[in-house]
Symmetry: C2
Amino acid sequence: MNGTISEEERNALYRVVYSRRDVRGEFLPDSIDDKVLMRILTAAHHAPSVGFMQPWDFIVVRNPAVKQQIKDGFERAHNEAAALFEGERNKQYKTLKLEGIVEAPIGICVTCDRKRTGPVVLGRTANPEMDLYSSVCAVQNLWLAARAENIGVGWVSILHHEDTRNILGIPDEIVPIAWLCLGKVSSFHDQPELEQKGWLPRMDIADIIHENSW
Amino acid sequence: MNGTISEEERNALYRVVYSRRDVRGEFLPDSIDDKVLMRILTAAHHAPSVGFMQPWDFIVVRNPAVKQQIKDGFERAHNEAAALFEGERNKQYKTLKLEGIVEAPIGICVTCDRKRTGPVVLGRTANPEMDLYSSVCAVQNLWLAARAENIGVGWVSILHHEDTRNILGIPDEIVPIAWLCLGKVSSFHDQPELEQKGWLPRMDIADIIHENSW
């Protein structure tokens, strides 16, 4: 078959998948080469999208003052969140480093333009959330491409979209999907940090596979 | 650095990203080896998830009668959808093959358990949609892993979740995210089919990158 992926290439894909991490504490200040960044964004732009609508935009933030405003937004949401955890969980939550907004040389806001290509979108008719999901697929492509470039990515979700919208001047009809921190790293953790630190264990895959019905 | 991805491995990742397609018409009846399927599902299970909650389940459907019920659900949603397109667009919509539900040897329903690990989830406090987005990341990992195994995947979104829920016996608290068709293929298209057939063009990436603000 034309376009066959070799066993070596397949193994490379798996190596990237299994070594991808949510990076918070290991960002280096070194800048990312423009060519590398464009390769990462172009991979994101080739994610699947419902009806080929490509609803994503990428706001690339290098300005330290803008990053600091996003960090302030994180602090507000983080303090609200901490109050929701009780007892030991609360103590542990407060010890976790959950973002590298200011340290990472680049922040990227990925968005979804729900009106792109008009009101009726092929494949979105029964499931209106499909355009949002397409932008999430772009995030995952970006994350894996970055890992393949040995660039760390952290998704900061402890942040109110209204703050992101105000700080970046995002129009009302555009939905913020993700704030991503990108940068070179001192190292990648061997395991997800929340697994390593005992927050939650990896589930047994046998428990989440069903045959023919739930 | 420990765990550095080589240039060759990086190129392999990009090759998979750029040759991944939404497959509808090229499925072969050949079965998928169980080991291959488990590799694909295990890659999906190693997607990023908010607070490491791993909210996904995978319902693997090989039963032809169940696939036929899903196909009937597609037909209903497809007829509703066709009525929304006008004029030339309506004619073109009706000529497109948009799914391979019955032909593909395996269907997989990916879901999201919003109550997994309890009501308060690290990272979901400000953005309640983050668990749904985690399951979408699992879909994208699955899709790329399948492509690396030379297995085609098609995401059928023209299908009401209530039908999927009823057919598969999915509990009320679990949210269906995607119905995926998996199978070996006669070929992968060089370009996305909707691009190839002139439904919509690929956007210029320069038009969707912003610097520091929208």
